[in-house]
């Protein structure tokens, strides 16, 4: 029996798997990263009384209740309002040239006749296929792009701190990714920003899905240094320790609220207007922007085309496995079940087969990048396991207490 003190991260004690997809109730919703500290209690995905998760609920709603024609009309209206008349950019599309952003930017330009400026927040460590797809986005897709690479020394430091304190090595990437669009919108005075997917697709609160715009709390905030946290450490302490300077903080700061309001920055999600299907994004990107899937499947999953541009990405998913019992295969399979590409049973097989796979391929590179030793890595990983999710066998191996199965429904 587990009790409250035996659950980490404020997760629900009882583990339930969705009856429709393979996700569990341990899945956290999006965090406001610059407030993220170790003791944070996670908000997790909502489950209905019928055992169906909010993301599946949204998928049903997406399929049956939304009038996509009407939504597209709204998009056209929005584009008509913001379309540039003098050849200047009229929208910012943040992304990496992966299938989703490739689709978003290209369709906005060529179908909806906008003039997007694509902006990219660099991955920690580019994979070859990621770099190729990124450059093809421009060379084949025909788009202008600005690539912003933050100070590598600082970025590595923050990655290490995020891993050590939060078991969340991807945080520096996620922070920058959320801000890059609005930041360049502010810099270049282009008020309209388009992200691709919609939060509700993945289980963020359903109430958020009635509006097309992202809440500004995610990117525009007046924040004081003592209330800003990076890698789980307050910015004030980071500065005091002289590990980073005030200037180094720039890429990780939200944009000032007033400035955002002055320009009238609006961040829209294209997934509100156009029915999002990642597999169809793949087809579109394949045919229009030179996007190529990876040659082999990604470690920890069966997929060959999801999130393939950053070597650190694998450790993001490995840490979600450790913290929440949810690995990459679960995320990929859940999404494909909802978009009806695979059945739940097929998803279960894939999760069983791949979810707990350790990402060996870039392990040494990750250790070198963060400057963490192998011993420390495993110490942190093992300390990060919540007792209500993990147990150690007599032979010293760690096993998940609860695995999704075909007949699951605890």
């Amino acid at each position: 029996m587990t009790n409250k003190s035996k659950t980490k991260y404020g997760l629900p004690e009882k583990v339930i798997f969705c009856k429709k997809c393979v996700i569990s109730n341990q899945r956290p919703s999006s965090t406001v990263e610059f407030k993220h500290v170790k003791k944070e209690r996670k908000e997790t995905i909502a489950f209905g009384k019928d055992g169906i998760c909010a993301a599946c609920r949204y998928a049903e709603y997406k399929d049956s209740k939304i009038n996509w024609r009407a939504r597209e009309k709204e998009l056209i209206k929005l584009c008509d309002k913001y379309r540039g008349k003098d050849g200047y950019y009229d929208c910012v599309v943040p992304g990496s040239g992966g299938k989703d952003s490739a689709y978003a930017a290209h369709i906005l330009k060529y179908k909806y006749k906008m003039s997007p400026l694509t902006v990219t927040w660099a991955p920690h460590l580019y994979t070859d296929i990621g770099w190729k797809n990124f450059t093809n986005w421009s060379h084949v897709g025909g788009l202008d792009n600005i690539l912003f690479t933050p100070n590598g020394i600082v970025h590595r430091l923050l990655t290490r701190l995020a891993f050590e304190n939060l078991l969340h090595p991807f945080q520096p990437f996620i922070i920058g990714q959320k801000y890059t669009g609005p930041k360049f919108a502010l810099l270049y005075k282009i008020p309209l920003v388009f992200y691709g997917e919609y939060g509700a697709e993945y289980g963020n609160k359903i109430k958020e899905n009635e509006i097309p715009t992202m809440n500004s709390k995610f990117y525009a905030h007046n924040v004081t240094l003592d209330k800003l946290f990076l890698g789980g450490v307050s910015a004030k302490s980071l500065l005091a320790s002289k590990k980073i300077s005030l200037n180094d903080l720039n890429p990780y700061l939200p944009i000032p609220k007033k400035e955002a309001e002055k320009i009238g920055i609006q961040v829209h999600c294209l997934g509100y207007y156009l029915k999002w299907d990642p597999q169809e994004c793949y087809y579109y990107a394949s045919q229009n922007t030179g996007f190529q899937a990876n040659t082999e499947r990604t470690e920890g999953s069966y997929s060959k085309y999801s999130s393939i541009d950053d070597k650190v990405d694998a450790f993001h998913y490995y840490t979600t496995l450790i913290k929440f019992g949810i690995g990459r295969a679960t995320y990929d399979a859940a999404q494909e079940i909802r978009s009806r590409k695979i059945t739940r049973e097929e998803g279960v097989t894939l999760v069983k087969r791949y979810d707990t796979e350790f990402p060996n391929k870039y392990f040494q590179e990750f250790l070198d990048y963060t400057g963490i030793s192998k011993e420390k890595f495993w110490k942190l990983i093992n300390t990060g396991r919540s007792p209500h999710l993990w147990e150690k066998t007599n032979s010293g191996e760690w096993h998940l207490r609860h695995r999704v199965s075909s007949s699951n429904n605890e």
Binding site: A293, T295, K304, E346, T349, L350
Partner: protein, 252 residues
């Protein structure tokens, strides 16, 4: 003169025919019985029917579905997908397959091919290979629907399998698969010396792409998927074009 066979390939997933690009992103393109019948009537010389996810999902292909597809067509049917035992081969043959194709399991157990050939005859056993180019003139064999590397040289593997007695080789270029950007010429060239019939697959984009690959590399048969599933060209059109250009094909 040897007659060239033109062969549509159906990738099966559950109850559907699907098609991917580089074996990923399996989009539903039709129903197995309908498509099989359509291609039969349109003059296909054979049909290849592969359960593209059987190995990935570690399950068997649906023999009932196979049976209903086989009952509508009266041309040879090559069946593959998750074949792991003599029992599986037998089930496939009894459900209507004429030839059985093996990929994933054979790579892990090459001796299985020998056993299969001994039991059913060389003409029944087809080696299916998914090849990804890794260097000029060098391809790696993949398994599990093009998702797992093996570290094995595809062309060497083919020669090894032929020495085990397989009757035919069906080779898909992962690089060309689903792209409709033309066949992998170099791959077709690299396997032209194989002692048993070879069927080339992956990248067809027009009737002339068939002509080019046949003239340059002389495979025994050519298979295609996307070009037929998406209606870019029909089998009849391809064959008529080939016949016009002095390639010997069966015309109705």
């Amino acid at each position: 003169m040897k007659n060239i066979r033109i062969i549509p390939r159906l990738d099966i997933k559950g109850p559907n025919v699907v098609k991917g690009i580089h074996t990923e992103g399996l989009r539903v393109v039709g129903e197995p019985i309908k498509l099989a019948e359509k291609y039969y009537r349109d003059g296909a010389d054979e049909i290849v029917y592969m359960d593209i996810v059987a190995s990935l999902y570690q399950r068997n292909l649906d023999f009932d579905l196979l049976r209903s597809v086989a009952s509508e067509i009266f041309i040879p049917l090559t069946v593959g997908g998750g074949i792991r035992s003599i029992h599986d081969i037998n089930n496939a043959l009894r459900a209507g397959a004429d030839k059985v194709a093996i990929n994933t399991y054979a790579l892990g157990h090459p001796e299985f091919l020998k056993e299969a050939v001994r039991t059913f005859g060389a003409q029944c056993i087809v080696l299916s290979v998914e090849a990804k180019k890794i260097n000029p003139n060098s391809w790696e064999a993949y398994t599990d629907g093009g998702r797992e590397k093996t570290g094995i040289n595809a062309v060497d593997w083919i020669h090894q399998a032929v020495s085990q007695g397989v009757g035919e080789v069906f080779i898909t270029s992962i690089d060309a698969d689903g792209t409709r950007k033309g066949f992998d010429r170099e791959l077709a060239q690299a396997v032209s010396s194989v002692a048993v019939p070879v069927i080339i697959h992956g990248g067809a984009n027009s009737p002339s792409s068939f002509l080019d690959i046949l003239r340059d590399c002389k495979p025994d048969a050519v298979a295609a998927s996307s070009i037929f599933h998406y209606g870019v060209a029909t089998i009849k059109q391809v064959k008529k074009y080939l016949a016009k250009n002095n390639i010997s094909v069966r015309l109705k």
